[in-house]
């Protein structure tokens, strides 16, 4: 940490023989005031995180609610829904890249069979971000599902018996009993998932490479590019520190807002 903080105040192009030079806050100034790519990647990352967290929370809650009931093949579905999360993210990315291949991918074949002929999901700057979001939701909804299922199972049965006696409907029981009781674990899950989603890298690296254009370039991917493709290590460290501060600020903000709602 100290080493990277030191580097963030230096210019160091590691691929050249040029020595490291102390430049004060120049890297930070350049990032914040001269780097359109930074702002673009930050915008995309925030948009991405907001959407995946909301969708995953909603779907995770729905799945946990359903699979908390005594339905047939419950255990089979519980295991099935956990599988995406168990796969290594980079493998997920490469597999989805193959599935989404616009020429020979299975997604094209299936959609084509249904009469839907969309082939530009990886080349349309408006569509591609949502493709990444869909893959993320597929991969990480199980995380929400797992946490919320565990929470569902720890809910006290007596409370439901009591509201049932009072004549509450299933929706009212959920709205006034289940939801408030689940809120603390939801806050925790949202925070954990948001922090993790902020680090979005593998899906971008494996599926889109940040494209088309710069439409899916995340902050992590941009930092990686600067650090390990341009070998501009001072600038990459400054980016990393800004990234850290942003995550801390957003996390604190989320935590406070959600606590208030609880």
């Amino acid at each position: 940490m100290i080493w990277s903080l030191t580097l963030s105040f230096q210019r160091w192009k590691a691929a050249t023989a040029a020595p490291r030079v102390f430049i004060g806050f120049q890297n930070f100034y350049n990032i914040l005031f001269r780097d359109a790519r930074f702002w673009n990647s930050l915008r995309f990352t925030v948009f991405y995180v907001a959407l995946v967290v909301v969708l995953e929370l909603f779907l995770g809650l729905l799945l946990a609610y359903i699979l908390n009931e005594r339905i047939r093949f419950r255990n089979f579905f519980r295991v099935l829904f956990l599988l995406p999360m168990a796969s290594p993210p980079i493998a997920v990315a490469f597999i989805w890249r193959m599935l989404l291949n616009p020429d020979a991918g299975i997604v094209k074949v299936i959609l084509g069979g249904l009469g839907i002929n969309v082939v530009d999901w990886l080349t349309n700057a408006r569509l591609t971000p949502f493709v990444l979001i869909a893959v993320d939701v597929w991969e990480w909804t199980p995380f929400m599902f797992l946490g919320l299922l565990a929470a569902f199972q720890s809910l006290p049965v007596e409370l439901y018996d009591a509201v049932s006696v009072d004549g509450a409907s299933r929706f009212q029981a959920f709205r006034y009993v289940t939801f408030p009781l689940l809120s603390p674990i939801m806050v925790t899950l949202v925070l954990l998932r948001a922090i993790d989603a902020f680090k979005l890298f593998e899906l971008v690296f494996g599926i889109t490479g940040g494209g088309p254009g710069s439409s899916t370039e995340s902050l992590s991917y941009y930092t990686y590019t600067v650090g390990f493709q341009y070998f501009d290590l001072g600038y990459a460290c400054s980016l990393s520190w800004i990234f850290l501060v942003i995550v801390l600020v957003i996390s604190s903000f989320l935590l406070q807002r959600l606590r208030k709602e609880v």
Partner: protein, 496 residues
């Protein structure tokens, strides 16, 4: 006295044996069991690995050495290679890399200069290497890489479309002029592309399109754009990247903007999946017969010849030509457009080369392995298709002479002659513009690639993209040191 004579004779014999042994050792030719127990590691991308795979078994059997091949995707090659250099790990002995990174790799001093080895051990057929390729493998008058690939973009067209008299007549009626075959200007290409776009002109029951090129980000799309830039923003022999006096990027001048507008226009007459076309997708799609015209290195020509392996439906149907020119060019020195035909040959990429890492533990074995497979009698097999598609295009003078080998590689004599003539003309052009070779070339080009992708995907317009490239290039130059970059840029152009 008798004893002294015998002793003298023995000494002479010993010296003779040693001198023969010494002489035998000092050759680029690999010797039997010479590197027994040693391992060399080669960092490489596909499809070039085909060359190493082809020669590895017999070189291993001959020398007793082992060759380990580490294959990485193109998009990861630079970081893998540079990380190894910067950390000094020495994980790779021999590295296959694109010579456009010369400023970083050779200029950075990360690879061994080969002059001493060439002097001591010799080099197979150095005089046989084309002059343009000798430039590509050198930096500051020293040779740092083994030539392996003669790279330049060329123009491909479907003869059954463009040479069809009925289509020519229809085109003339619609556009009011008769096009050239191959087309002479990008303006002409746009009209032809529009004419052949979106209908079944080869009567195979499928829709065909006008013009295809590499357009996907991080797969070398910027060289497609530079093919346009050369015609609108450069004159023969004048590189259009920076003002050599001030190091001010030229990328936002009217020539570059016009080129950006033209490549943006070209996407309208391209196959639907164009933005997902990296080099392999382009080649595969074009030889499957989906477009009338394309630009690429010599690779499409090789794949054209292999219906079984690459599903080529165009064997014998392709024509070859140099890059189209333009009807006007922007003279950055005068700051004005110059009307009149302009055609500039461009050595895009400059070719793949092999170098020995300065951290290599077995540099001599690496030297001898590289000279083994780049020797004239072996390299011809790699470039003509006998070893299938290797990604290597002709780069020795002798590669252009031995037509029998090309016929053996699956070519018709006529196709081979026209293909080779096109490449030879471009590589022999003393005024061909060489690629950007200063330190940071990979970074400059990554930003070029990024903003090009934004234009092609409709996120931004040509002028805004060129302005953004300009601002990014200024920052990169500042970061590397403007004066240092200016000096190196001028050196790379032979101005100082």
């Amino acid at each position: 006295m008798k004893i002294s004579c015998k002793a003298l004779l023995a000494v002479v014999l010993v010296l003779l044996v040693f001198s023969v042994a010494w002489a035998a050792e000092k050759t680029w030719q690999s010797q039997e069991g010479e590197f027994k127990g040693k391992t060399i590691t080669v960092l490489i991308t596909d499809p070039h690995t085909a060359v190493v795979e082809a020669w590895k078994p017999e070189w291993e059997a001959l020398t007793g050495a082992k060759v380990e091949i580490i294959v990485v995707p193109y998009a990861s090659l630079f970081d893998k290679m540079m990380t190894d250099f910067i950390t000094g790990t020495g994980a790779y002995d021999l590295i296959c890399w694109p010579s456009t990174w010369a400023g970083d790799v050779m200029g950075g001093g990360w690879v061994i200069p080969l002059d001493d080895y060439m002097k001591e051990y010799g080099y197979p057929g150095w005089d046989d290497v084309m002059p343009a390729i000798k430039v590509v493998v050198s930096w500051a008058n020293k040779v740092y890489a083994f030539p392996y690939d003669g790279d330049c973009h060329m123009f491909y067209y479907r003869k059954d479309a463009l040479e069809n008299p009925d289509y020519q007549a229809q085109f003339e009626e619609k556009y009011g002029y008769r096009y050239n075959v191959p087309p002479k200007t990008w303006e002409e290409v746009m009209d032809i592309a529009e004419f052949f776009n979106g209908w079944d002109w080869d009567n195979d029951g499928e829709t065909e399109y006008g013009f295809a090129f590499i357009a996907k980000r991080k797969t070398q799309a910027m060289w497609s754009y530079l093919d346009f830039v050369m015609q609108y923003a450069a004159q023969p022999g004048v590189a259009p990247f920076f003002d050599p006096d001030t190091m001010d990027p030229l990328v936002a001048n009217p020539g570059w903007i016009e080129a950006m507008k033209m490549i943006q226009k070209a996407t309208q007459f391209a196959p639907p999946g164009l933005l997902s076309y990296g080099y392999s997708e382009l080649r595969q799609a074009f030889v499957s017969g989906n477009s009338a015209m394309a630009i690429d290195w010599g690779d499409i020509g090789i794949m054209e010849q292999s219906p079984e392996e690459y599903g080529s439906k165009v064997k014998g149907l392709l024509g070859y030509g140099p890059l189209p020119g333009a009807k006007k060019t922007y003279d950055f020195k005068e700051g004005k457009w110059v009307e009149g035909y302009n055609q500039v040959n461009f050595l895009n990429f400059g070719g793949w080369v092999f170098s020995i890492s300065k951290y290599s533990k077995n540099p001599l074995a690496a030297y001898k392995f590289a000279t083994y497979f780049t020797a004239p009698e072996r390299s011809i097999l790699d470039v003509c298709g006998i070893h299938g598609y290797t990604g290597a295009n002709p780069w020795r003078l002798s590669h252009f002479e031995d037509l029998d080998k090309w016929v053996e590689g699956g070519w018709s004599k006529e196709s081979a002659e026209k293909y080779l003539n096109t490449i030879r003309t471009i590589l022999s052009d003393p005024k061909a513009v060489t690629d950007l070779r200063i330190p940071g070339a990979a970074e400059y080009y990554d930003y070029l690639d990024l903003h090009l992708a934004e234009v092609l995907s409709g996120q931004t317009e040509a002028e805004a993209a060129c302005k953004a490239i300009y601002e990014d290039w200024v920052k990169i130059t500042e970061n590397y040191g403007k004066e240092a970059q200016r000096k190196l840029y001028r050196e790379s152009l032979g101005l100082d």
